[in-house]
């Protein structure tokens, strides 16, 4: 890891180990987050993303490693001394305090002057439209309002780094979308560093400057949403990101006459595939996004006959579930195209935009 770069980072995690009762949950993890960056930690449940966030917050014991925030080594600092604000999935509002007192609790603990507390609370309340709710108790608020209060509580702390632990998971779909936009706006307005944990890829893709996809306590890929979506580094990332999921075709790589992917009796020419390294023969998996399957033969692309089994209209577009030679896959099309179950389509695969993975699951 480049030390010079770490010194500039808003949050820097170095060689972090976290263990519970003998089991290592996070193993020598390093991560740098730039000032003002919106970083999303994404992964399935149990991948260690929340653990990592809690470690950054100082809420759990780490076994080894260091954590730096804003150029300070805060590995052993109290959560409150780290210059962070945190928002939790269950809101974690203090049930016996009014919204106002919830917001001001941390400031009161810190012993700030009353006027200063009032200013900050008022500012946060204005920003989050909490003004009319200040005298209420959490039990008198809706889920969305509660989460806004929770965000406000992080806001008033006037810190450089915000930590979000699945903040929208307890909300219904509509509220989730609204609040997601609000968080994005907030980030644009404040320009703070935000570290955001979620298992929802839509949140990740829409909010993040960079996404860290985690699995088994290890960051699988750390890159921009576009990079992650289009050029996943391994099968796990490829399969985890995207809905419907990426289609995988099992086969082998044949280099006899230039790179060719062989699956059953189909031979797909990989001449246009951008290999990251010189390819080697052997078993391989070819992955296609549903939208990269065309209903007509694309120029220079291999064509497959496929039978339609289910059509899912989704408004703007539609997903077709089809099958070729026992291989089920999905296709995303514009909804104007009418297709019915039973139709036989000729589909073309855009090899240039596909992802090829070797036997070890790594991108080729």
């Amino acid at each position: 890891m480049d030390v010079a770069m770490t010194a500039d980072a808003a949050v820097s995690v170095r060689d972090l180990d976290i263990a519970y009762g003998g089991a290592t949950v996070v193993k020598s993890l390093s991560l740098d987050i730039a000032p003002g960056e919106f970083l999303v930690l994404l992964g399935p449940s149990g991948c260690g993303k929340s653990t990592l966030l809690n470690a950054i917050a100082g809420l759990i014991d780490i076994a080894d490693g260091e954590i730096w925030i804003a150029g300070n080594n805060v590995t052993w600092a109290e959560p409150s001394q780290r210059g962070i604000g945190m928002v939790f999935q269950s809101y974690a509002l203090y049930p016996r305090m009014t919204v106002e007192r919830n917001l001001s609790f941390g400031l009161r603990v810190a012993g700030l002057p009353k006027a200063e507390i009032e200013t900050r609370v008022a500012k946060a309340a204005a920003l989050l439209h909490l003004g009319p709710l200040l005298k209420r108790r959490p039990s008198e608020l809706s889920g969305g309002q509660r989460q806004r209060v929770a965000i406000g509580r992080a806001l008033v702390r006037d810190v450089d780094v915000f930590l979000f632990d699945e903040p929208l998971s307890n909300l219904d779909a509509k509220l989730r979308n609204e609040l997601r936009v609000e968080i994005k706006k907030l980030h644009q307005q404040l320009g703070n560093t935000m570290v955001y944990v979620t298992h929802d890829q839509v949140e990740a893709l829409t909010l993040a400057d960079r996404i860290a996809v985690m699995q088994g306590g290890v960051i699988q890929q750390l890159a921009s949403p576009a990079e992650i979506y289009h050029r996943p580094v391994n099968r796990f990332v490829a399969g985890f990101i995207g809905a419907p999921a990426m289609n995988f075709l099992e086969g082998r790589l044949d280099l006899t006459h230039g790179p060719v992917f062989v699956a059953g009796n189909q031979r797909l020419d990989l001449g246009r595939y951008p290999f990251t390294a010189p390819p080697a023969e052997g078993p391989a998996t070819l992955g296609f996004r549903p939208e990269h399957v065309a209903l007509a033969a694309a120029p220079g692309a291999p064509v497959l006959p496929a039978t339609v089994s289910v059509v899912e209209p989704m408004g703007a577009d539609a997903v077709i579930w089809a099958e070729h030679d026992g291989w089920p896959f999905s296709i995303r099309i514009m909804s104007e195209v009418t297709v019915a179950p039973g139709d036989i389509l000729a589909v073309g695969l855009d090899v240039a935009r596909a992802s090829l993975f070797g036997a070890d699951g790594m991108r080729l």
């Binding site: 109290e78 959560p79 509002l93």
Partner: protein, 295 residues
């Protein structure tokens, strides 16, 4: 936990065999539970001559409240004929102090064990629970010696300390379980807000603990108010609780027994916990529903 007023189960559909059976079962159960109370009340209202007839269920031939009066202020124990009333304020003193301290300490223990888990938390809790399962008579000699050594033998401090010592396992257990049901994120949020051990306890956790404070207080009040042996051994002569007087009246070996006075005295001695149950029974159920049974 659903609020009690939420609809549960199918709406009762008029008079059915099931409903009749249900009320029948409840009525029989109620009779079983009320029978002893009935016998105690009617016995306390009879004269000794009528009691010697041996019909314990019979309605009193004529109401005689004198046994109650005697029990409260006239029954003799040894040379003093002051009834059990004299010990009343001692019992109140002992119970209030013991309940207050044991609930406060138990709540802090439960909080520390549940949220902070300092080194050895499991061991101390395990030993505490083990202590709750020992026959407590065995503690008397060592405690007497220890209390004498630190100068609180035969004192209010001594008896209160004993009750706190032996109430600790149960109260700690209750609060620990209750706090286990509180989302840990709340605690984390307070930590991020910079609150320390006491601040989180006093401003965040304790205000949420009312239901369990009620439950723990009721449990403790019942146990401490009804205690006899510890009061006798540790309270000292000036602080003897009511139960010691009750025992002197009820438990005489070679003296006469006035059953009407005994029954009245017994009920008077049980009055305080009974009233607490009648008044706070609803809170008790709610408090337990609010957390004691979550695991």
């Amino acid at each position: 936990m659903a609020a009690p007023q939420n609809p549960r189960g199918p709406r009762p559909a008029g008079v059915t065999v099931g409903r009749v059976g249900l009320y029948g079962f409840l009525a029989i159960s109620a009779a079983f539970f009320l029978l002893p109370a009935y016998v105690m009340v009617v016995t306390s209202l009879k004269s000794m001559d009528e009691i010697r007839l041996g019909a314990i269920f019979a309605w009193p031939a004529h109401f005689d409240l004198s046994a109650w009066l005697t029990a409260w202020s006239g029954a003799c124990t040894g040379l003093t004929c002051n009834g059990i009333g004299v010990g009343f304020w001692n019992s109140v003193k002992i119970t209030v102090l013991s309940v207050a301290f044991s609930v406060i300490i138990g709540a802090i223990n439960g909080y520390a064990l549940s949220f902070w888990r300092p080194a050895g938390a499991k061991i101390v809790f395990g030993l505490l629970m083990l202590g709750a399962f020992l026959p407590f008579q065995i503690f008397i000699y060592p405690l007497v010696r220890g209390f004498a050594a630190i100068g609180i033998a035969d004192s209010l401090a001594g008896i209160v300390l004993v009750h706190v010592l032996f109430g600790l396992p149960l109260v700690t257990l209750l609060f620990r379980n209750y706090y286990a049901a509180i989302p840990v994120e709340l605690f984390k949020a307070a930590r991020v807000d910079g609150a320390g051990f006491w601040r989180i306890f006093l401003e965040v956790i304790l205000p949420m603990s009312t239901p369990m404070v009620v439950v723990a207080s009721i449990f403790q009040t019942t146990g401490i108010w009804n205690d006899f042996l510890f009061g006798l051994v540790f309270a000292g002569r000036d602080n003897l609780p009511m139960t010691v007087q009750l025992n002197n009246i009820v438990n005489t070996t070679t003296g006469e027994r006035f059953y009407n006075v005994n029954m009245a005295a017994t009920m008077l001695a049980a009055a305080v916990p009974l009233v607490i149950y009648f008044v706070s029974g609803r809170w008790f159920v709610r408090g337990i529903a609010a957390g004691a049974v979550k695991g």
